[in-house]
């Protein structure tokens, strides 16, 4: 059984020293570096428990499902997770290839269709791909290598241990040598070895794992336009459809007139789709679909529809009024998510108090590729091509919508032009399925950008109130965090206005502070639109509130931000869940606390690395300031240090240092790209992303009123990756980078200008 290496066993002194040594290394380059922060010995591969086995359909580890070897030696590996930019379609097969001693240049990757009974869970979200699958990828690779070894041993009449498998070649003690292709049939017929029967590679024998030299498998095709995304599949006889959806969730067309639409050359037919009411789950919103011989005719035809919409029960949703309500709710006691010590007593006995209320608008994901899907319904069944994060859920939903047995539905997964949680919800796939059946031909449904902005499953809006009690010496003695936000649950079940423990557990109830009295509460908020998960989920508003509050406390108490963070976090330790008053159903991202504890030593380490990296404390020109924030999410630890500068009346962030501890870094190059991307997306969240509602409908529609960070104002990012051996479990990467960024920018803005902003988005104007 794996022994988790407690990083704080290495002395703080040593951590600082090592961080410093490596820092000198990156000064000379524009790139980023891995940081060897903890001296722990390499050890054998002992398996450990991960939450993957509790996911629907769990984890499949049969090598015969994932690996095949052709007679010419080509190794084909199945990628069963969706590729949306994190690199998992490359990185997981790379782990298999390394452990099986396959030559990467002779590896082919094929994408699995949506079929969880065969491949195991395929929900590509929650920063789970590497975290849940690195062990099984090693096991699959190790199994096949062992099977090759045994097949050769039988052929040559020698002991399997005398057979070497190296870079696609199998050699024997007497100089025998064959390639993988020659042994393929015999090897794949061997019984699959157990974990104990596999001699795993030691870490110094890794060729690809942990190295970062393997480029993403689609790189060439991406640069030539040959890569196939959702809308790029072309079927003979395919029709093109766009849909006018009700502006308010739960609304419908009371009447419509398509006369002018049908007169547009290329428009072939118009169909009314069934409407959804809340909780919608992932069902399409319904509306009027225009089917044409090309996308433009469909778009043009849609413009000419005359529709009278009925708003339904959510037509009064107005963001300013709703925000005022949430703030009022945050002033009242809520449902307790965590109770440690006695906050009320701390408050009553406080010499000083501080209250901060931090708010956030909704966010739409706007992946670069708006939703699109192709469906082909025939008497035999339904075939789909789509950029989906959860292909099996898409299959089950489409089957249900058409009254088909899921066995008659196939979902082919294309590349995703970004996902960020939007493409976990396959309403757009069901739309295509319904329309293909209606017109009796293959149909591609294309969402316009306006559709994407106006009909998302939105990141929640929230009001977060934090009350802090301090003693006469300015020591924080009590911390109460009240969060009010409509819940994701409202999309799935009749809404009672309560969030789920897993939302509370994303950065609020798991507060890693060494404060004696902590209480976390949630207030009720009824949803009036579809609430979904957006990259980092509830960690964004929680980290926003906590990180901003730490910045405000530092200013109040005349401390620097790093000192304030360090004081609040307290000593390096593993949080004792019981003593901390965490609920029994504390989520921990589905991972066992024993294997993935809350370790403040690792939090402190990344904070120091980012702060040292940017030179926190150094003198800066007037109008510039550095902000710090650190946050644990998806069982990883990420710190952001942002240098904010006001230029020409605009908030700019010329420099950012991101430090991540994600356990063992399987593909450091893609971890860096994720952190660079998280810095940009975090800055977009900080300055731009605000979806607001009026009369139940979204007010924004496209980049002119829902903009993003662009190349004229992006942060130059240095990424620091804490280096760990394999025995420190790989954790999440895709999501944990975002949450610390907005509060770091707000704290940096305050340092630069003395102005404190407490609402997201803050706006780009200084």
């Amino acid at each position: 059984m794996l022994k988790y290496i407690q990083p704080h066993l290495a002395s703080a002194q040593e951590r600082v020293r090592l961080a410093k040594v490596t820092r000198r290394g990156f000064l000379g380059t524009a790139g980023s570096f891995a940081i060897a922060a903890y001296a722990v010995p390499a050890r054998a591969f002992d398996t450990y428990a991960v939450g993957g086995s509790d996911m629907p359909h769990g984890i499949i580890e049969n090598p015969l499902i994932f690996v095949s070897i052709d007679a010419d030696g080509t190794v084909t590996l199945v990628a069963h997770r969706s590729e949306m930019g994190t690199g998992s379609r490359t990185s997981l097969p790379m782990v298999i290839a390394d452990e099986m001693e396959a030559d990467w240049t002779r590896v082919k990757i094929v994408q699995a269709p949506g079929d969880e009974p065969t491949y195991g869970n395929q929900d590509t979200d929650g920063s789970r791909s590497m975290r849940h699958h690195i062990q099984v990828a090693r096991k699959i690779g190790g199994s096949v290598r062992t099977m090759l070894q045994r097949a050769a041993a039988q052929q040559w009449g020698v002991e399997p241990t005398a057979v070497k498998v190296e870079m696609h070649q199998v050699t024997g003690p007497g100089g025998q040598s064959v390639g993988f292709g020659d042994l393929a049939v015999q090897a794949m017929a061997q019984p699959v070895p157990s974990h104990a029967e596999i001699t795993y590679k030691t870490e110094d024998q890794f060729r690809y794992i942990g190295k970062g030299q393997v480029q993403i498998t689609d790189l060439h095709d991406i640069t030539t336009g040959a890569a196939i995304y959702g809308a790029d599949v072309v079927l003979p006889g395919m029709k093109f459809a766009v849909i006018a959806r009700p502006p308010v969730v739960g609304g419908k067309a009371s009447s419509y007139d398509a006369t002018e639409t049908l007169a547009v050359p290329g428009v072939e037919s118009v169909h009314e789709l069934p409407y959804a009411s809340m909780p919608t789950k992932f069902a399409p919103l319904g509306g009027i679909a225009v089917v044409a011989s090309n996308t433009w005719a469909a778009l043009d035809g849609r413009e000419r529809l005359k529709i009278a919409w009925e708003a339904g029960p959510h037509g009064a949703y107005s963001s300013p009024a709703y925000m005022a309500e949430m703030i009022a709710t945050s002033e009242q006691p809520g449902t307790v998510a965590r109770n440690q010590g006695d906050f009320d007593a701390a408050l009553a006995g406080a010499a000083k108090t501080f209250t901060g209320t931090y708010t956030q608008d909704h966010i739409a994901h706007i992946p670069m590729e708006p939703p699109a899907a192709i469906a082909h319904y025939t008497a035999e069944g339904l075939e789909i091509w789509a950029p989906v994060q959860s292909p099996y859920a898409a299959r089950v939903d489409a089957a249900a919508a058409l009254g088909l047995d899921p066995a008659k539905v196939k979902v082919n997964v294309t590349l995703l032009g970004g996902g960020f949680g939007r493409k976990s919800k396959a309403d757009f796939v069901t739309e295509a399925a319904l329309l293909s059946k209606a017109v009796g031909a293959p149909v591609r449904v294309q969402w316009a950008r306006e559709d994407d902005v106006k009909h998302s499953f939105y990141h929640t809006t929230s009001a977060e109130r934090i009350d802090v009690a301090m003693d006469a010496a300015g020591k924080v003695t009590g911390w109460r965090h009240r969060s009010v936000a409509p819940s994701i649950l409202s999309t799935f079940a009749p809404d009672e206005g309560n969030v789920m423990p897993l939302e509370q557990g994303m950065g609020m109830s798991d507060l890693p502070f060494g404060v004696a009295n902590i209480r976390c509460e949630s207030g009720k908020a009824l949803a009036h639109t579809r609430i979904g998960w957006f990259r980092s989920v509830s960690n964004i508003p929680h980290a926003w509130a906590i990180g901003s509050c730490v910045g405000e406390l530092a200013a109040q108490l005349g401390k620097d931000q790093r000192a304030m963070w360090l004081e609040l976090i307290g000593a390096p330790r593993v949080l004792d869940a019981k003593a901390a008053g965490l609920p029994d159903d504390f989520w921990n991202y589905g991972e066992p606390m024993s294997e993935f504890p809350i370790d403040t030593g690792r939090l402190i380490n990344v904070l120091n690395i980012a702060a040292d990296g940017i030179g926190y404390g150094k003198d800066l020109p007037k109008g510039e300031g550095i902000g710090l924030a650190v946050h644990r999410s998806f069982v990883s630890y990420v710190a952001c240090a942002a240098r904010v500068k006001v230029t020409g009346g605009k908030i700019t962030v010329p420099e950012m240092h991101m430090a991540i501890d994600c356990g063992f870094a399987a593909n450091p190059e893609r971890i860096r790209s994720q952190l660079e991307g998280a810095a940009v997306m975090g800055m977009t969240v900080a300055l731009h992303s605000g979806i607001t509602f009026e009369k139940g409908a979204v007010e924004q529609s496209n980049y002119y009123d829902y903009d993003v960070v662009r190349s004229d104002n992006f942060p130059s990012v240095v990424t620091h990756i804490v280096s760990h051996p394999f025995s420190v479990h790989a954790t999440g990467v895709g999501e944990p980078g975002v949450p610390p960024v907005p509060p770091a920018i707000a704290n940096g803005l305050f340092a630069a200008t003395g102005e404190r902003r407490r609402h997201l988005p803050m706006g780009v104007d200084a």
Partner: protein, 150 residues
Amino acid sequence: MTTFTLNGVEREFGESEAMPLLWAIRDIAGLTGTKYGCGVGLCGACTVHVDGKAVRSCQATLGEVAGKSVTTIEGLDPAGNHPVQVAWRDRNVPQCGFCQTGQIMQAAAFLNETPKPTDDEILTAMSGNVCRCGCYQRIVEAVRLASTGA
């Protein structure tokens, strides 16, 4: 009927002259490397070259390109080895990749006009191309690499 040269080959399109070039390229000619991202000229995913200049194909109509020469990502270099494409791979620019054909077309036209740009010129030239994944840092490095070889 509109006639123009598409990736070196003369083509006729029978669709309305008001059809945006983007949809003619994607849906009629079947070249899917050119992407739809916004339809309003604000993201750059649909960037192509018209007579060598970067153009948002969602904003140009078939009528406007009559008689001109249109190059899409598929026609930029027969083997995909235009210096910008090579630089993009060298710097591992893409994440999801969806914006990248537009970015590459923008960068290629820009470097054609401004072979040795300053960093500020690069930032400005590329600022109409959105990358939601946030690859900007590497995009700028790759443009620099394509222009200077380093």
